[in-house]
Amino acid sequence: MLRDITLGQYYPIDSPVHRLDPRIKILLTMAFIVCVFLVGSPLGYLPIAAYLAWATWMARLPAKMMLRSMRPLRILLIFTFVLNLFFGTGDTELLRLGFIRVTQEGLYNAIHFSLRLIFLVIGSSLLTLTTPPVTLTDGLESLVSPLKVIKFPAHEMAMMMTIALRFIPTLAEEADKIMKAQSARGADFTSGSLKQRAQALIPLLVPLFVSAFRRAGDLAMAMESRCYRGGEGRTRLHVLKTGRKDWLAVASIAVLYAVVLLMARYV
């Protein structure tokens, strides 16, 4: 295991974007997503692209990191493009191959929706590339904590996510160990039909579940021994602080909104 899998997509360097308050970053990402939906024409994506390029530069992320985040979605992207291109409505025919026809509107939509998807993905990976999952969890906890008045378990949810992150490597290691032990006894996890492979997983999953439950019991005892009693009256080592750089980031998104809205109206 070369990379620490609990870091997820996180790209561990230091930059002004990495240092932003996670709450602000989450809100900005949401605002950015809304902004992308406000764009009315392919040309309107120009300011969006410029903004992302600027943010990437500020975050000191290599451009290829950003492009790589597109990879898992390439199939969806191709689908979006092809479906819009070939099965678009509209009358101005550009091309006809048997029953397939490409209209001007279809082409327009294909470009429009593909660009939208691209910018949505890149925008949200900017958040996950510059924020470790644990910090993201802290930010989310703080953002949803007003919902505590309607009994929403904000703290419990965040604690669950933190513990899940903490135990992913432990359980992964254990799964690996069990798998090796079972393979040594002749179990085969890699060949056979889907059904056979699913069945081969049972001797892996059963001990894994048993151990996970035992770990959960142990952990609960250990947490109680260390005076854990829920979120009430709890302080935090890392206090989330909103500073000047955060307000500057908010200002930058406001400018983006202004430009996008103006372009939607006049271009």
């Binding site: 142990d218 952990l219 260390r226 009256g233 302080t235 080592l237």
Partner: protein, 280 residues
């Protein structure tokens, strides 16, 4: 007379109603600053006693007092857990956070310690277990001995008076075991922390100042390591072994050699052998 630091008074505990007694009529007083090794074969009730000591379990009968506070009195629960820290056997199952520093902070966060006070306390706790250089590491990348020392640091941060270690070395390699035992002995010596050290390793028990032996939920032997281990036959009756050097002394005596029956350590044994050679 000064009050004992930990006091178990005729304690009985059953896991199920009318079930067998996991701990039965168990009485033990531990003074401030003592280092007590609690021994017993599998299932003799050691872990149950440990969990009774910080109120994770409350006794079915009798009383458990921690610094004079009764564990059954729920107003003391958190004060007792703050004063009496617990280290468990499996290092992986007691670390909560994904970064060492944050894990040490966990107890402080629960106690509501102000955020600005935490870094200094955490640094001090990590230095006390010689893990200061690992503050920003991920716990799952550390060795077992290091993980256990992180667990001890997490407890030290809460400034406890008592630490109970329930087979904290059972899953470690010999060097990890030595690291953890050495840490506990040093904290006992330098900071006067009372330690209850539960173990299956007799050579670890030999280094404590007092040994208590459990058998079927009862306290059956209590004394200095020398007093307890010199009664080789009795110790064996309780399905335990004696430290290697005591065993050797016993074997030599059975063959008619006049070595002292309570030798515990290698230097002591070396001296005895020298003495015999001199006489011969």
């Amino acid at each position: 007379m000064t009050q004992p630091h930990l006091s178990l008074q005729n304690v009985t505990y059953t896991y199920e109603e009318n079930g067998p007694e996991a701990v039965s009529d168990f009485s033990l007083d531990v003074g401030r600053g003592e280092f007590v090794a609690l021994l017993g074969h599998n299932g003799s009730g050691k872990s149950t006693v440990a969990k009774l000591l910080n109120g994770l379990y409350t006794p079915t009968g009798g009383n458990v007092l921690v610094a004079g506070m009764d564990t059954q009195d729920s107003q003391y629960t958190w004060e007792i857990r703050k004063r009496c820290g617990m280290v468990f056997q499996n290092p992986d199952n007691q670390i909560v956070a994904t970064v060492v520093r944050e894990d040490v902070a966990f107890g402080l966060e629960n106690l509501g310690v102000p955020s600005e006070d935490m870094p200094a306390i955490i640094d001090r706790a990590l230095s006390a277990v010689n893990m200061a250089d690992f503050a920003d590491r991920a716990p799952h990348m550390l060795s077992g001995g290091q993980k256990q020392r992180i667990a001890i640091a997490g407890i030290l941060a809460m400034q406890p008076e008592i630490i109970v270690l329930d087979e904290a070395t059972a899953m470690l390699d010999p060097s990890g075991r030595e690291e953890v035992l050495e840490t506990a002995l040093r904290l006992n010596r330098e900071q006067g922390i009372t330690v209850v050290w539960i173990t299956h390793f007799m050579e670890e028990a030999a280094r404590s100042s007092r040994v208590a032996v459990m058998y079927k939920g009862k306290l059956v032997m209590d004394g200095t390591p020398r007093e307890v281990f010199s009664q080789v036959d009795l110790v064996r009756e309780y399905r335990l072994d004696v430290p290697p050097m005591t065993r050797l002394a016993h074997m030599l005596r059975e063959r008619g050699l006049d070595v002292r029956p309570d030798a515990l350590t290698i230097p002591e044994m070396r001296q005895e052998v020298k003495r015999l050679a001199h006489h011969a």
